[in-house]
């Protein structure tokens, strides 16, 4: 029962929902909540919500029944570790409870190809690929407005028209969610909450119904009090990267000084607010104005934003987190390094995969980095 999930929500630690991700999907399905799974932070969740569909983020959490390597029948081993894990989960029907899967692709070649592969491997599931423009000018806005309209009409064909379609209301709901997350991120910056908790809350926010999330977290406040003196001595870290989605990486003491992030499903997913109107044009404009992902072309926007965050959070060192075999992360690394060098901010590059197979090595490198910063 959904109500059981809600009450469990209050009585269980957050990880319960993340650890039991696939069970949560099954519960939603039992409740006849139509879910659309999505992959990237560009997904127009407000449009889905306005169509009475529940946008639900797809994580690379390992399905209990998945056979590692099953993906090899369909994609090669040099696809990013994140997509390989997801395909493994799909192959044991891990996402069968979803009514559809949507890809919002830009320039990630792996994701683009997997969107085609997904259609082949799961022909009975609605798979939609919304292609984003690289530009953010008027022509690109016009294109994206039409892409969104096309998307709405496909949803309509498959799920019927939502008579209650109200984009403004959906934007308001998601803006509220983002404000709550911004507020919680502030607690982290001030040292009142650890970053792993923020990561868990952020991830859960992409799993629960948006109203449910806001109801539960609207009045969230971190334990009061000033940060301890030992925390004050700990070097302040920021983690920067792409589509990282395993909170367990952050749940180790070596990250004690982590106070902010620049990740796809972290700061870059909640740092913005959308004008609360029904206008699709205005919605598109604000989407295109967001901090670009590593997958996108970016003259300076992301670097500038990173610089601002470093100042704002008084960062001593940056951890550049890259996913194994993720081309966009790998490419972005070079300008990021150069930028940090120009700002004279020390950095450390950690490369890993969602299964954290090299966690021991990561821990050693992280603590060495923190020691150097101290």
């Amino acid at each position: 029962m959904l109500s059981d999930i809600k009450s469990e929500m209050l009585s269980h630690p957050l990880e319960y929902y993340l650890e039991n991700y696939f069970e949560a999907l099954a519960e939603f399905d039992k409740q006849s909540i139509p879910m659309i799974g999505y992959f990237t932070n560009k997904t127009p969740v407000e449009l889905l919500d306005a169509m009475n569909l529940h946008p639900l983020r797809i994580f690379a959490f390992k399905h209990p029944k998945s056979h590692q390597g099953a993906y090899e029948r369909y994609i090669q081993t040099f696809a990013c570790s994140w997509l390989r894990g997801i395909l493994d989960n799909g192959l044991v029907d891990g996402y069968n409870d979803l009514k559809g899967i949507m890809f919002s692709t830009g320039t990630c070649d792996s994701l683009q190809n997997v969107s085609d592969i997904w259609q082949k491997v799961f022909p009975n599931q609605l798979t939609y690929n919304l292609t984003f423009p690289i530009q953010s000018n008027t022509a690109a806005s016009k294109y994206l407005v039409n892409e969104f309209k096309q998307f709405i009409s496909v949803l309509q064909d498959n799920f019927g028209w939502s008579s209650s379609f109200n984009l403004k209301e959906s934007i308001q709901k998601y803006n509220l969610k983002r404000k709550i997350l911004q507020n919680i991120a502030n607690f982290v910056s001030k040292g009142h909450l650890n970053y792993a908790s923020l990561a868990k809350i952020t991830y859960v926010s992409d799993l629960l119904l948006v109203d449910e999330f806001t109801r539960l977290f609207r009045d969230f406040s971190a334990p009061d009090g000033k940060s301890s003196s030992s925390q004050e001595e700990t070097p302040r870290l920021l983690v920067s990267g792409g589509m990282w989605d395993n909170w367990k990486l952050f749940d180790i003491p070596e990250w004690d000084g982590l106070v902010a992030d620049d990740l796809s499903f972290g700061y870059r997913n909640f740092n913005y607010l959308i004008p609360e109107t029904d206008s699709l044009e205005s919605y598109v404009k604000s989407q295109l104005a967001r901090i670009p992902e590593p997958t996108a072309y970016d003259e300076n926007h992301r670097l500038e934003s990173l610089g601002k965050q470093i100042k704002e959070h008084k960062i001593d060192g940056v951890v550049l987190l890259t996913m194994k075999f993720c081309d966009p992360d790998a490419f972005e690394l070079v300008p990021l390094r150069k930028h940090l060098e120009s700002l004279e901010i020390p950095y450390l590059n950690l490369e890993t995969s969602p299964d954290l197979s090299n966690l021991a090595q990561l821990r050693t490198r992280l603590s060495a980095f923190s020691e150097i910063l101290q």
């Binding site: 090899e72 029948r73 369909y74 994609i75 090669q76 040099f78 696809a79 692709t105 830009g106 320039t107 990630c108 070649d109 792996s110 683009q112 190809n113 997997v114 969107s115 085609d116 592969i117 259609q119 082949k120 491997v121 690929n129 292609t131 984003f132 423009p133 690289i134 530009q135 022509a139 690109a140 016009k142 294109y143 039409n146 892409e147 096309q150 997958t295 996108a296 072309y297 970016d298 003259e299 890259t322 194994k324 075999f325 993720c326 081309d327 966009p328 790998a330 490419f331 972005e332 690394l333 070079v334 300008p335 390094r337 150069k338």
Partner: protein
């Protein structure tokens, strides 16, 4: 299958010398020290970029990907990739990009284009033109080139096509960018685009592509008049100089020679043709002749490949030049769906009477390679033509194991033998 001694079993095509000469002249001209005084500039452009606009504006287009292929053939791409890696570029990214960065950042001189002009790497660019119709990688690559050289970058954005129908708003987006492209070039060159010249350049391009398509079609003949390595060399002008009248004359010459081969039933290889295979993906540049020659000794010929076919798309004329260009430049093999690739491989394999298909699975190129396991299964289901995947790379020899590759190919050839008996 026993190993055979290395001996040259391919037939030399005389017109390849003309292609080499023309390429030499092209690179030589790009190194002209008085180029700027003559009102010309250099642009680096991606292989799927709209080059005609540059030619019409007296801008010399240079292709870092083509340079990558040259460095690969000169067996220098792995060294250059390592140079790039030592500057922080990951070994996982496209080896063309790494070769390019390596050539720029190399403390030693970059790969001499010795076969071509003997005077070093690509001429320094004045501007960059990036079309993402081949992959998303080029966007990140060019973003970094713009940072390194501090020069303007024009992006021609072609979101991947998700089905065979191209929507009107998609075309509108691309057509608008074509106009913006002209404005960009006009501002860089400080002169107006002459639409008459542009139209003429597009006509040359169209003729070059038509001739190239005709040359490729001659591969249907048995024995096949061209092998993979021939086509990979001959394709250079249709990639880099397709808007010029020289390319048209050059391809007329090539066409005549290949047609004569067909008329005389002369094959590309000098031993009897026993296996006709389709090649999918970019070649192994650092092992180009050895690889195809070794297989040719076993009677293996490749009458067709998907790579050189990618430059055979048709330029349809509707009277609206920019719109036609927009359609052509979005309708590119790598910008289309997996289903399109499956259909095309199936059609080509049948049309060229192939006995088998070799899918070169390259870690460098995710856009071209990811999905090949599905293509292999579906194409065989559709055509009954078997195929196998070989692991490798076009430019990074560290990702290639000749023993393993040859074992897989031998297994494919045995399967073909079994099916025949």
């Amino acid at each position: 299958m026993n190993s055979v001694e290395k001996q040259r079993v391919y037939r030399r095509l005389e017109s390849t010398q003309s292609v080499k000469n023309s390429q030499a002249m092209y690179y030589f001209q790009s190194k002209n020290p008085y180029l700027h005084d003559e009102g010309k500039k250099i642009a680096w452009i991606t292989s799927g970029g709209p080059v005609e606009f540059l030619v019409a504006m007296d801008i010399i287009p240079l292709y870092p990907e083509q340079y990558g292929a040259i460095a690969g053939s000169a067996k220098d791409s792995t060294r250059l990739s390592q140079v790039a890696e030592s500057h922080g570029y990951s070994q996982d990214i496209c080896a063309y990009a790494r070769t390019s960065f390596g050539s720029i950042l190399s403390p030693e001189s970059p790969t001499p284009l010795s076969e071509i002009d003997g005077v070093g790497g690509l001429a320094t660019p004045d501007m960059l033109i990036c079309g993402n119709n081949i992959c998303g990688t080029v966007l990140k690559w060019y973003q970094d080139l713009a940072r390194i050289y501090k020069i303007p970058l024009f992006i021609f954005d072609t979101p991947p096509l998700t089905d065979d129908k191209i929507s009107s708003y998609y075309i509108e987006y691309l057509t608008t960018q074509m106009s913006e492209y002209i404005t960009f070039l006009e501002s860089e060159m400080n002169k107006q685009m002459d639409i008459e010249i542009l139209t003429e350049v597009f006509q040359n391009s169209k003729h070059a592509i038509e001739l190239w398509t005709k040359i490729l079609s001659l591969g249907e003949a048995i024995p096949a008049p061209l092998n993979c390595a021939d086509r990979f060399l001959l394709m250079a002008p249709v990639v880099s100089q397709r808007g010029t009248s020289e390319t048209v004359s050059l391809y007329e010459e090539v066409y005549q020679e290949v047609q004569t081969r067909v008329d005389n039933s002369e094959g590309a290889i000098t031993v009897p043709e026993q296996y006709r295979l389709l090649w999918d993906n970019i070649p192994i540049w650092f092992n180009l002749y050895d690889f195809y020659n070794t297989l040719a000794q076993k009677g293996v010929v490749f009458p067709v490949d998907t790579y050189t076919n990618a430059w055979s798309q048709n330029f349809q004329e509707s009277g609206d030049l920019l719109k036609d260009a927009a359609v052509m430049y979005s309708n590119i093999y790598l910008n289309k769906t997996l289903q399109h690739k499956i259909d095309l491989v199936s059609v080509l394999a049948k049309k060229y009477q192939c006995d088998g298909i070799l899918y070169h699975s390259m870690r460098s190129c995710k856009r071209y390679s990811l999905g090949q396991p599905i293509t292999r299964v579906e194409v065989t289901e559709k055509t009954n033509i078997p195929g196998t995947l070989i692991e490798g790379d076009m430019n990074d020899s560290r990702a290639y194991s000749e023993g393993q590759v040859m074992t897989r190919i031998d297994a494919l050839l045995e399967l073909i033998d079994t099916q025949r008996n």
